[in-house]
Each structure stands twice: as C-alpha cells, then as structure tokens.
Subunit: 637 residues, 2 copies
C-alpha cells in the first residue's frame, strides 16, 4: 500500500468494468464507485453493517477489519468498500455479488378492470370558428365555448402553447382533458386532429425495484413494461436506511435518484414503443401518470420530509398529496400532465398496499380475503366488501437477499429452487444461463424446508452439527455448505453456505409474516376457516413454492387451491386507477375504509410472533398438513 | 473620433452617473447604457423614430444623421443613443430629459368597498391533538379533520413545510386559507398562533408605471403604497412597441423586466412597513395578490405569447388565465400564494379596465356613466347596472410625453399648468423644485387651449405664423416658443417649443378620445343628456383641468359637476377584489356583461374621429360652453 497526501489526486480503476477516475486521497471506495457510476450493493447504507459491498483493491488503500468478512476473504484481500479509504493509485475488482445488476423483476398483473374503460384523461377533437373582429374571444375562451362546459381550467404551461397550437392546426385542435377531482382541466392542446392513441404511465415505486407500464389509455392495452433497480438502493436497502440517509442530508439526493430511475425506465419504454409502432414518441406524449409506492417512496418522489415517518408514531406529511403536475415531480411526461398518487394509509401501509387491494378485488368480495405482500417490507391485509384491516410487519429483507450471507435478489445466478438429496448434496435451479452465486427468496424457503425435513435443523432452526459432514463448525457458529466454491460463478471467494445466523434471520422474517396474519385474524375475531382466499402479491410471489412456505410455517396452512398470486398488485392497481373511473373511486373507497393496525407495540402480535419462532410453529396443530416429525427428505424438484 | 477594431474592448463612461463599463467596438450606445444600468427613454423601442434618447458622446463613436435632431443639437454634438455606435473609448453625457427617472405617479384610489370586508384569504387557528400510535393520521389529514371541511387541498410546497410547522408549534397552528373558485386551499401553515395581520398585494401593472399597495387583509388598510417605472419602458414606450420587441426574441426579457419591477416595488413596501411597524416582515408573509393590467401587460407578466395580440383580430391567449401561484409568476410572495388576475375583455380592453369599472361602481348605478381612462392607451366604457360597452382608441402617448417634442411625463421639471399672457410670454407651474425641462399632459392641454384662445393656432390647430413674434418658421414648419433655453434646466440644448407636428399629434389624440366617446354613445343609441356621470380614471386625471380639456374638444361638453376623478381605478379595483367577496364576484360579472366594440375598422368611429380633428370640433354646437371664436386670452392660472 502506497500513501499519498490528501491534496493528491489518486487514479482509481474499477475492474472488470474498466472505469477509471481520479479522486482525492481519503475518499471511501464506496463513494468512488458511485462517482464512477458503479452501483455497489450497500444494504446498510454504507455503515459497515451488512457486509455486502465486497471488493478486492490492489494498490494504495487503507481498510479497517470487519467481522463480516470470512478468514478466506481476508486472506484473499477482500475488503468492504464502505470501510476502505483510497490512499494512492489503485485498482478495485468488484466481486460479482457486490454489484447491483439486472435481475428478474415481476411485472405481470391483473388484466380485469373494476369497471368499464374510462381513462383519467381523454382526447376530444374540435374545429373552432377562427376569430374575427366581430368574434374576437381569446383562444382559451374560444376553446371553452366549443367544449360547452362551465369552468374548464388550464395551467399557464398549457396557455403558453395554446395560441401556436390552435393556429398551426388552422383552428382544428385535439384537446386532452383530465378529470381533476370532478372538474375537467385542459392538460394539452395539439394542432389538428391527432391519432386517438393517448399515452399514460403506471408506476410501481418499490423500495428495491421500480416497474412501469406504458399504457394506451384508449384501448387499455399495456404497450410496454420496463423495470430497473431503484437507484436509491446503494444509499440503504430498506426504508429505514433510506430515511436515515435522508435525515443525514441526503433527502434531495434520494428524491433525485428515484426520479432518475423512473425517467430512465420510461425512456426505455418510449424507445421500445417508438420502434414497435414505427412512430416517434416523446415523453411529452404521456398525458397522465398513476404512481403507487410505499409511504416512504411516495414521500421521497414528491420531495416531502420523511423525518417524522421514521419515529413513533410514524406519521406521514400527508396520506393523499393531491394531484401534482408531472413537472412538479420531475416525471418524464407532458409538464402539465396530472399525477395520481395512490393514497397511503399509514407510515408503513402505503399507496402500494391500497393499490394491491384494488388489484385483488378483495374489497368487492363477500368472502373474507387475506392478502400478503412480501416485498422489502411485509404488509398484510384482511377484509371483504364490508371492512378492511391492514398492518405492516418489519419482515426485513431476508427473502430479498438481505441479512443472509448467501442471499441475493432474484437475478441471474440466483438459486431459486433447491433440493437436498439423500446424500446431503444439493440439486438446484439457477436463474439465467449462469453458475450459482447466491440464493434468492424462494430458494431460501426451499432450503429451510429441506434442511428441516432432512433433520439438518431442529424446530428452532438450529443447525445440528452431527447431521451431515456438509455441516461445518467454526468460532462464529455452524454452517451448512450449499455448494463448494469451485462450482460457483467465477470470482466467488468462498463456499456458498447458510449459517446459524442466517437461519435465525430467516426464522424471524417468516415468524413476523405469520404472526401478523394470526394477529389480524385474532383482532378481528375471525379464523382461517372463514378465509376463503389468500392472495400473494409482490415480486416475491411467482418464484415461490407455496407448499414449502407453508411447511416452514410462513404462510397459513389452508388448502393450496385457496391461494392465489396476483403478481405486482401495486402496478396493477395503479393502472386500474388510470384506466377506470370506478378504479379511481374504489381506490378512494379502500383508503377511506381501511383500518390500520399498529403492530409495533401490540402484545398480541408479540405473542404470535414468539410462537412462530419454530418450524413450523410452537402449536403444531396449526399446521395439520406438515408432518409433526420429519426425518427424511420428501422434497421434489 | 478614434477607431478600434471589433475585437477591442472599449471603455465607456456615462456621466453624470460616473458608471463605466467595457463593451465591444460596434455596440450601440443605447445597449451599452442598459448594460450600465442607465435607463434611457426610448419611446420607439430604439429604432430611431422617437428621438428621445439624446446623449452627448465624446471620444470614439460613429453616428447617423437624424431629422429628429435640431440644428442646435447637431452643433452641440447631441446624438441619438440608438443611432450611434461605439468605436473606441468614450464618455457619454446623458441629457436630463433622455433619462427615465422618478416622477409623480398617481396612487390614490377609491376607499369604499362594494360589500363587507371578506378577504380572499383568511387565517384560522387550531390546536391539533398530537398524533399517537392509536391516532396516527398524517399531518395533512389531521389538519383537515380539525378544519371540519371536505376536500381542502394543499400544494406540495405547503406539504413540504407542514411537518415542521405543526411540530415546532407543538400542534398549535395558524392556517391560511384561500378561496380558489369556491373551494378552500391551504396556502400557508405557520407554527403557533401568529398575529392576525394578513398581508396581501394589489398591483396595477401599467405600460408606463407599476403601482402596488401592501394591504392588511384583516382591516382592509393600505399599509404602504409604492410605484416605479415599468422597467420595460426602454424596450418600447407603448404596448405595440413592446409586442414587437417580444416577437424579435425579447419576450422572456420583457417578462423578467416587469417581474423585476414588481419585486423592486414590493421590496420597498416591505422595508417601509417593517420600519413603520417595528416587526420584520418578509415577502413570504404576503399570502395573496391581485393584479390588474392591460391585456399585453397581463400576458407578459404571465409569460404568455403576445404575437397574435398584435395582429388583427387582436386575440389574447386567454381572457382569464386562472389563479396561478406566486411562484409561477415570480412574484415576491409566499410561493404557494394564489394570484388573482383581473380578466381582460379584449386585446385592447384589459383587466385594468375591468378593474376601473369595478372601482367606479358604474355597474351598480341606474344612471348612465361614461368612463374615460387616458393612460398610454385610451379606453372608454359606457354603461349602467344593465349593460356595459367598452372600446379602446389608440390615443397614443402624446399626453404622456410621447410624440411631442417638448413632451415629458408628469415628473420633476415638467410644466403641468401653463398660461399665455397678453404679451404672449408664458406663466407656468413646474412640478418639483426645478427649472422646466418639458411639458406633461395636463400642461399640453393647457397649452393647446391657450394657443387656440390667443389665436396662435386656428381651428385646425395650425400655427398662425403672424400671430406673435414667439412663433418661428423653419424649413420643417412653424413652432411656438414656450420658454427660451436660458430659463430651462441646466443641460437643455435648445428652446422649449411646440411645433406644427406636435400640434397635429395632440389633435389626433384628443380626436381619438372624443371620437370614441361619441361612437359609443351613437352605437348604443344614447346621447350626452342621458349620461349622468363622466368618470376620469388613470394617472392622467389629477393633473388635468377638465374645463381646458373640454375647451379643446377632448372631453364632452357637459356641466363640470358631472365629472368625477377616481384616480388609479385599476389599482383600486384590484384591491377591492382582494378584500371583498362581492368585489371578486362583481369583477367576474363585469367581465361577463361587458361588450367589446372594435373601433379599428368602424366607419362611424372614422367619421367621428375626422369630425373631431378641429378645435374644439367640426360641429361647434356640440361644445356650447366654448365661445365660437376666441380671440383673446381668458385663461387663468
């Protein structure tokens, strides 16, 4: 390690990207990577707590020791980018799993609208009588006269373009109208009669992933769907870390990052649809947008303060922030376009959950539905057409790749299904055409279920050291070897293992979800027999084997036919609100009818959670389909 | 004259200001003066047509000959700043009358409101129950619950500050509400119980002058009044010149200049009121604004295009541009504050005329009222509580100092009253403690009346060369010497004279006003006997001797007691709309009821105008109070 003084510029090269830049001596490598445009995974927000931003620097650097690195990693000169300072010229090799890359993001959603197609905006064509000295109404008032409505408003942005638009179309104009809280507003005026296609945007703003649909509002068709990681991720994996980052002066940066991600996703959609349709589209052709996200994401995209959301009693600035214009949110759309923000119900039950409910249709059903959305946070909703109760449980990111040493998101290289064979070797399926580099949520559930059924863990999910020689015991505890280093993706520095610590994190997460479901039922005086349907929403859903999730006691033990996946309900609900007046009405109704149950200080929840810290549960009678004692593997791949 | 190549920087010093700057060789002196922050008068927009931007350069310059300069001026090295190019280092002496300076601007207006005090915005105080885990409504919804109203909206700007405001006041909040088209909007939230004073702004945006009132909305009191020249003036004196400047790429500059003027006036008001009241005020304390201006000014302040306003059939982008926020108009007020824009009725009958009518009360009167507003443009309104007809006449700026060689605005040094003695010398009154440097509108009317009554001009306003030895004949026509150079303000380069050309301009202006009045009466089937009141509005009013204006045939010949001055009706009307719900309602009613009569292509108007090109009129019977033949002076000072 060579040293330089603070004044010197140090040349840093990131491999295998080949990106280089000059930084001041003293710069933290994680920061240098951001400057270089390389997004390293930093679950904890870069405070040395998650151990995910592993890199191999070579040259001038100074690092601090970390208990999150294995001995092999230390020997292999692996360091945490957030704990290492540049002191001279150096090369930094980014380890594959440290990188935020492309992955499989769920975009499928319900197609059935809650009512007839009646989009939030519509186009109308008018031929206006040209003004004369005898009929010299102003352009706006001339248009209003043709519209034959009372007070139709228009923003200054629209008025600025109006004179040119009406004249270049020789007084033939296509007017885009948006229904803002019951009153029409002119949000665009185009010259001549433009084609009927009317573009809208539905966006699910997830903590981890942002998914957007480009929608033809006239037909209701989704023209293109795109997604990307929320660029905020490297500033903290979950909403708590993001809010802390915001409070430390990063609020504007987070707002910029989420808006930037949306812009980038939408650019891709516009490009693809332009190519597909053979006509040149621009973001200004998007005349309406519908956004659904959790409360923190909604606040950040709108630039609202999150400071008080993070502290008891977790109060948002607003549940319903009105209908801002696209220009106010930096959205890639016509500046005067209005934005429908799905209303939040509580600090931890956001507009995404309201949209989930809308997409599920549970609010229209006589029978009782339990909706479980396991995203970065877990939200549970119970209800029917008469009442709706919702709660949030801090499930944690264990099933999204956080807090688990071998965990990763559902991207190329992730093991999404796995089986432990009779000889305790593993058979697995890897996403993409890749060697494995980690295990994603559905794979982790498989793994816990398999380890339990093979007797590798006991009912408390503790590893049994003598169960197999694939169990290793070190100072920091026991670990099960899933796959050895040589069979992993190139660049992997150690075997793929699941540790005692990982298992306890997974146990807590599944206990939080099941405990929340039980608590909701108990508080409402209902029981599982009354639940006619369990809806699984969120990106987690499609990769998941429900029977395995039941076998570890994560989901309630009811016949599988009662389960239903709705995929990305947040996106689906946002789209429904954009496309149907009934959808918009129902979104408000759901918001108004939804009761929020705060679990963080609830004794019932604490009891239910504690009882769930077993495989599958303390009270085994709750899981009649799970054999009381499982000794040999029955898992099938 | 020394020469430099284009690449060189030339040092230019303006005297007596002492301002210096470096400009490229080839820069026009008028432009250099703008860069130096010196506002030269340029009625014509800097195209060499008005001859007002006179300067005396010394050093490197190149000028073109101008017929607008007298022989004496040419001998004295006077040039037009807009027709002279910098070619090397030079000193530029700015002649006193070329400068736009402080002057007497009329700000008085009606005090009587059209209904009970009910300001557009009001403050309400609430103590909110602090949120708990059991009552964790969001801040906005908590506030809404306390307000006990349905949908009360709030902009993102308000929401961004809301969490801090409610908490720092320990859940005691003062809420400012604005009535936007019948629905309440939260436009400000302050911590704790703030004092009741609620500040609003009423602004008259004149082509020449901007006048603003800082208003206490709780009491209705005007706390301070301020005014300044519209900084657009040097880009053209009248609205036509401004629109031409806008079309040549200067639109954004004009918008910036008018907003800059408003900001500067309001800064002064805030400073004065802070000193007077002993408490520190900020522009963010202004929570509502009401603006009235002609159609062009309203368009420019809102950033709307004026291109089509300038061409037949003179169509605005909008009559009523809604209620934009202060931030959208760059107004010095709370960014979320709403702005009430007085609606325009036609391209040449703007929100200022609608406000004039409101201030005059003529729309509530059973008797017929004729309203005459002689500003930079002339607008005439006839009507009563049943109907209102308005028209505009391109009176031209003759009475505001334009198009008349000795003309100037009503500022220090202006002769505002004048009498021609038996020996044809003059006695006069000068505004301010100054020697005369020109004649303002009321002085010009006196002068024409006196010259007619003394027989110096005939009924066609042609100078009689033999009338007195104070008449001089030159190649360009005859002129009457008002005062000789030696008795004028220092720096004056020639005698103060009124020429044949000046007289014809004044004659056309007075004929346009009288012709418009006659046409309105004729078109509506009314006559002067039916008119119970003639209201004179605008800055022109207070300096004016009505009997003189009648004697030259500018105003109708009715008993003087029927005349009434209302001063700045535009400002008064804007303030009434801000202070009384009835004022806002009536402003809309006036707009809806007002019929616009286009005179520019009207044969009746042309006939009336032509008949008025005499002193006092072709048909002398229309002016029974004016002696048919006036030979000797009866004027009194």
């Amino acid at each position: 390690m060579t040293g330089k003084s603070e004044e010197d510029g140090c040349a840093v090269v990131f491999t295998p990207d080949g990106k280089s830049l000059a930084v001041r001596a003293g710069t933290i490598i994680l920061e240098a990577s951001r400057e270089a445009g390389i997004e390293l995974d930093a679950v904890c927000g870069g405070v040395g707590k998650c151990g995910r931003c592993k890199v191999k620097p070579d040259g001038g650097f100074q690092t601090v020791a970390s208990s999150l690195l294995t001995e092999a990693e230390v020997r292999g000169h692996v360091v945490l980018a957030c704990q290492t300072v540049v002191t001279g010229d150096l090369t930094v090799e980014v380890l594959p799993r440290s990188r935020i890359g492309k992955h499989q993001i769920l975009t499928k959603s319900l197609e059935d609208l809650p009512g007839p197609l009646s989009p939030w905006v519509r186009k109308e064509f008018y031929t206006l009588p040209p003004p004369t000295l005898g009929d010299n109404l102003a352009d706006l008032e001339r248009l209003r006269r043709a519209l034959k409505r009372g007070a139709v408003s228009a923003s200054l942005e629209v008025l600025r373009r109006l004179p040119e638009a009406v004249r270049s179309g020789r007084w033939n104009v296509t007017v885009t109208l948006t229904d803002v809280d019951g009153a029409d507003e002119i949000t665009r005026v185009e010259a001549g009669r433009t084609d009927d296609r009317l573009l809208g945007l539905a966006v699910d703003i997830g903590t981890t992933t942002i998914v957007a649909d480009l929608v033809d509002l006239t037909s209701g068709d989704v023209l293109a769907t795109g997604s990307d990681y929320n660029r905020q991720i490297s500033r903290g994996e979950d909403v708590i870390a993001r809010m802390m980052y915001a409070e430390e002066g990063g609020a504007e940066e987070l707002t910029a990052l989420v808006r930037e991600t949306i812009r980038s996703v939408v650019s891709g959609l516009i490009l693809r649809e332009s190519e597909r349709s053979g006509r040149t589209l621009a973001s200004s052709d998007i005349v309406a947008a519908s956004l659904a996200g959790n409360t923190v994401m909604t606040h950040l995209v709108a630039g609202l303060p999150t400071e008080h959301l993070r502290r008891e009693p977790y109060v948002p600035a607003a549940f319903h922030a009105g209908f801002p214009r696209a220009s106010e949110l930096g959205l890639p759309a016509n500046p005067a376009a209005r934005v429908l923000l799905s209303p939040s119900r509580a600090g931890y039950v956001g507009g995404d959950v309201v949209a989930d409910v809308l997409a599920s249709g549970m609010h229209r059903s006589a029978g009782l539905t339990l909706l479980i959305d396991v995203g970065t946070n877990g939200e549970i909703v119970l209800g029917n057409r008469d009442w709706i109760v919702a709660c949030a449980c801090s499930a944690g990111p264990a099933f999204e790749g956080g807090e688990v040493s071998c965990g990763m998101r559902a991207m190329d290289g992730a093991i999404d299904r796995i089986r432990i064979n009779d000889d305790f070797t593993t058979s697995y399926h890897v996403l993409g055409d890749a060697l494995p580099s980690g295990v994603c949520g559905s794979g982790l559930i498989d793994l816990v279920a398999e380890m339990y059924s093979r007797g590798i863990v006991d009912r408390k999910a503790r590893i049994q050291d003598q169960a197999t020689d694939r169990v290793r015991v070190s100072d920091s505890g026991s670990e099960f070897v899933i796959e050895s280093q040589k069979n992993l993706e190139q660049g992997s520095t150690s075997d793929l293992v699941l540790t005692d610590v990982d298992l306890q994190n997974l146990l807590r997460t599944k206990a939080a979800i099941y405990g929340a479901c039980s608590t909701l039922l108990r508080k409402t005086g209902e029981n599982l027999e009354q639940v006619s349907r369990i809806v699984i929403a969120g990106g987690f859903g499609y990769h998941l084997d429900i029977s395995r999730a039941i076998s570890i006691g994560m989901f309630p033990d009811v016949p599988l036919e009662r389960y239903r996946f709705i995929g990305n309900g947040s996106l689906g609900g946002a789209r429904m609100a954009l496309l149907a007046a009934r959808g918009r009405q129902e979104m408000n109704d759901i918001f108004n009818r939804m009761t929020y149950l705060e679990l963080s200080v609830d004794n019932d929840f604490y009891a239910e959670f504690s009882s769930s810290l077993f495989l599958p549960h303390t009270d085994i009678r709750r899981f009649p389909s799970v054999p009381a004692e499982r000794a040999s593997g029955e898992g099938s791949l």
